[in-house]
Symmetry: D2
Subunit: 384 residues, 4 copies
């Protein structure tokens, strides 16, 4: 019986934020070892340095993903079980496709790819090849987000009537106003259509609102009307939407990268016929729950949770778990599902495949396309 | 020189919430005495009891507003200077008109009336007759709302980019879901088109979002797209909007009377090129102010205010002023303006007429009509 | 049957903070009219101007309290029912005593007087003469403080184990550190032993902690050990205490006038065998209530209150009541009790005399003396 | 040059909370591998299972610490560099001493040991043998606690005047009141003097207040007066203290395990002549900073930090780092210092030895002894 998996990584040199979060998150539960990688194509030195830092043998530090997929697929022993893709958005599709075709399982950063057509192809191929494909919408990994999903599913707030989601950041504030730094390096790739696709803000953070709220509500967005603000740039930095979920609930979504005073302000509030649930990413271990007509209760992780959220709990209440644990929760489920698969066990429990999948990735791409389509047509309503 | 004004009141028997708030607010600064009234037409006993409670002489407790306007207008001495109208929405127009025509100044609850046509007529008449006409959008009376308006005007947050307003209550929660009480007395008049007009929630609280945000931003809403939720009732209980201000800023407005956990949750957040300002009615003495790139500052009434907001300050910082003081601030300005007028002084200072007027009332009616028009047309965009 | 009382005021010219709060608080319910006063002895012009501003007849604007007490006591008609004493602390005793001896009821600012001996005399005299004597410990007037008292009394948190009270302000911050302004006018009388007595901070705000917590807990402080910080000044600006209540509960009290970031930060937290209650003056309409083992509930005024707290409720939940309403609550009870007395009705209901009395004032003086005695003896324990 | 260390662990089977936190924290930066251990003496099966789970070779899964220290010390290759001690408090002293004597570096859970005499011996021995000895007072590892220490050191709040520390939990709430479960397994060892020593609450969490506040303030506690509440149990469950720091600042400390509504509520507030700093463990990425006379600023990790706190930053602002990262920060510094030592580099940078040491452990033991001594003597003042 296998107990440890092997993985490779594409993108994510030593100093890159998200690539490092992936490695740390995997290390927390120790279910997978990094054994191969292509951490940078443009910067061979950084590629090698990163690989060496992690003790990867020289022959498995690859110059590009094509070399890697061929070499790994050709191995008869110690082949990687899954690949983690942390490259810029414009490369996800071709890399993911190459690995699927070799039957290697996938963890890919979001957004999944640039077009719904590409995303549909990846969904189809993953299904055909039996590949487990996780798209890291991190925030559904938080313990209290799972608790919220459970509570909504169990009817704690009755029928969902209204959903308010927002995701506010301030890191591109210098891009607006009189003192715009058009040459700021920081923002280059996010604001460049070539690497970011048709959106910046909506694709980077707006999709998290959709994914996290759909996860909690248990129903995706069906229609929307969106206003995107570009403030003179080629891509959006701010957006507001009216949304309608498949279950009939209405609501608003707002995302911004120019909202002073907000750093990673994702919040989801769900109002139902019997109560309400409110969650904020910057204080993730808490959940405000109001049964209709009663005082609001501050639910605390571990102390006031049950079911799956309680089972997957890591440390006692009052000790903040933080973002890395949310990531680790996703990886723990993903790797356990892979191990089950490797060991011939079924993944038939209710939460066995509780990680964001390529299907969520497809929905995310459709959401992005819908926002742009609506905005281009005078912010009229579009179906997703 | 006159120092004390005389006023009459229509509506607002002893147990009515808002009528009492008006009287208490006026009493705080002692600039006007209640000397006449018609507190109820349908309930003559409550009418007389209220009048007597306030020591009004028998001859000036009137059976209906028509009797009152005639009698008061005919008086040569001690005639009322202004009338306070706290009756159901459907009567505001005719009562206000009758008093304007007699040259009696007016304070009227919002919404001003039912149609923009009526509102335009009231605006025109008030102007022609030189009548001061205040519409009590209470929340612009809060000290820190004035501080916010000042700061935006002085450029503290640069050019306004985005505005998020919301007003959430829960008091009609029992009107949705399985346990709907269709016979609940509490909600009768608000949810009855005859007394409430074409909206319930949007007219009752949604208009406060528009008025308060326009006051802070210094620019009104120009266009919007609205989704109204009626949940099987004739009028709306929940609404979401995309808005565009005249100054070009976009944003969202949300109002609800079925949002569990929220009691009178008006909040306005304004994001600009140089910073942001955020205010919540349930904690009115505080203002969150974030200069771009710096930590958020918690501004406290009196301690961190200046200009007009500091001058009109009533009690030291840290001692909550509360709703009644917001009301009293409006009345203090209104009565001072009337006294100036009575004493032949000009009201030409920047803040001399700093109270919500019949023009604001007109804008409120247009906002309500715009919301319904948009919603009826599939939530498309409409100009106000 | 009398429905309106007459009162006189000593101290509290037009611009004085607390004198004005008293007048506004009384005006809110309209149960008493200001008909006499001596607003300043040292400044005859301000005295007359204040009297005239409130329409007091010339003959009842007195030059000093002695003239006032004689003249008012001598009146056979329209004599004042009660006097409001808002003068500096060092004058409370003699003024209060003079009015008691004439059978005139009293509202006096805290601290009641300078020594327990004086306070005991006032208690005895008030009892002998049947005088109602209110000492305005404002904070027990807040609706949610009454709700807290009720809940503790009803056993909502079980047996009280621990009490943490604090009252932090920053307004004397400039008195410490390198940039001390020894000539600051603002702080003169508070920091002058002649006008303030043996303490500044403990007497001004520390006593509020004792009074408010004793009111909520239903048991006074019995013993304490105190550390007073004078930072080179004759009187204290900061203090910390270990306390033991009569019911056996332990806890800490802290007060400060040099705590940057705190304006009027009175908070009381009570922990019991079955739960906890926490209240903060800067957000007075809320109460945190935690039943043991369950999530914390945010109780909101009016929405989640019962009994007396619900009955005395003034405006709907979510609309902040503020400090003036807390004051008005005290005055409403006090004036109703006086009216009952005047009209021959018993004050035998549980909450009929629910205002802070001269006995509370005595306890406050003992608390102050205890703190100074403990501090002087090396912060050892003293009995109150 | 060595880049990876080897460590062994004593205590901390698979299901134990704190042992697992240590392993996860070490894994995050990957600077040390677990190669030996004695995870349980009483439960040989759990011991072996834990060792196997982490892939430790059979010969290095020891039956008791004595066997381990002998065997490891005897190894000529791959000997462990340091040992992590996570056993009950009563065993720390003898285990730590045994490893020091063999020159093996140490990470030990707090409290360090039972008596100051023992602690002094460990300090002396560690110094003599050149052993790096970390005592895991976790909370000084938080990024914003380091930022607070920096700011105080740089004079941001001037001279420190007052310190308020508290640490409130509720997990032993069932031990007080009518429904005491004297046989509750959960609380057995903490409340048993044999395993916990002379205190429960003070030793478990009270010492964290002392350590964290001393770290921020840059000065330890010198004298105190303490009241310990045992509520009928042999050891304390609640305590309050008056404290005096060496720098002359006064303040209060409170700790409790029976404070309903608080889970791991450590908070430190420091007031100085030029401002104040306030930090709460349950929201560790934020710091309230108030420069005297100005509004409070909400400092956010990464966004508003500098110096060392910025350098050691792990993920972008707004993404909560959580407890495990605080632990990992301690381990990163400790292992880097060990690697420097191993590689012949000096640890002479300002922050090179920025981890809690055996000297802090000694101070913690003195604090515990002082609290008990004071309480036993009627809560009088004692020197530490």
């Amino acid at each position: 019986m296998r107990t440890i998996l092997r993985y490779g990584q594409i993108g994510g040199t030593l100093n890159a934020f998200i690539g490092d979060v992936h490695r740390k998150a995997i290390s927390i539960d120790g279910q997978a070892e990094l054994v191969a990688g292509c951490f940078s194509t443009r910067n061979p030195e950084a590629n090698v340095a990163t690989g060496e830092h992690y003790g990867i043998e020289a022959g498995r530090i690859y110059r590009n993903y094509k070399e890697m997929v061929e070499a790994e697929a050709a191995r008869t022993v110690d082949r990687i079980d899954f690949v983690v893709i942390c490259t810029p958005n414009n490369t996800h599709y071709e890399i993911a496709k190459a690995f699927i075709l070799k039957g290697i399982h996938i963890v890919c950063e979001k957004p999944l790819c640039f077009t719904a057509t590409e995303a549909e192809e990846l969904c189809r191929l993953a299904k055909e090849r039996g590949v487990l494909f996780c798209v890291t919408y991190t925030y559904t990994g938080y313990n209290m987000v799972k608790q919220a999903r459970q509570m909504v599913a169990e009817g704690a707030i009755g029928k969902v009537l209204d959903v308010k989601g927002e995701y506010l950041q301030d890191w591109l504030s210098d891009e607006v106003g009189d003192d715009v730094h058009t040459d700021r390096k920081l923002s280059v790739w996010r604001m460049n259509p070539e690497s970011s696709g048709i959106t910046n803000c909506v694709g980077d953070i707006g999709t998290h609102i959709e994914e996290t709220s759909a996860y909690i509500v248990g129903s995706p967005v069906k229609r929307l009307a969106a206003v995107l603000d570009r403030f003179g740039h080629p891509l959006d930095l701010n957006a507001n939407m009216l949304v309608e979920f498949e279950n009939g609930a209405h609501g608003t979504f707002s995302c911004s990268q120019v909202a002073a005073g907000h750093y990673n302000g994702l919040s989801i509030r769900v109002f139902g016929t019997k109560g309400a649930i409110e969650w904020e990413q910057e204080h993730p271990d808490f959940l405000r729950y109001t049964p209709k007509g009663e005082p609001t209760r501050i639910l605390t992780r571990a102390a006031h949770t049950g079911g799956h959220a309680l089972e997957i709990n890591r440390i006692p209440s009052g000790h903040p778990e933080g973002l890395t644990m949310a990531f680790a929760n996703i990886y723990r489920t993903f790797t356990r599902a892979l191990l089950n698969k490797a060991n011939g066990k079924a993944n038939d429990g209710e939460w066995d495949l509780d990680f964001p999948t390529v299907e969520d990735g497809l929905r995310g791409v459709r959401f992005i396309e819908g926002c742009v389509r609506s905005d281009s047509a005078g912010s009229t309503w579009v179906e997703l």
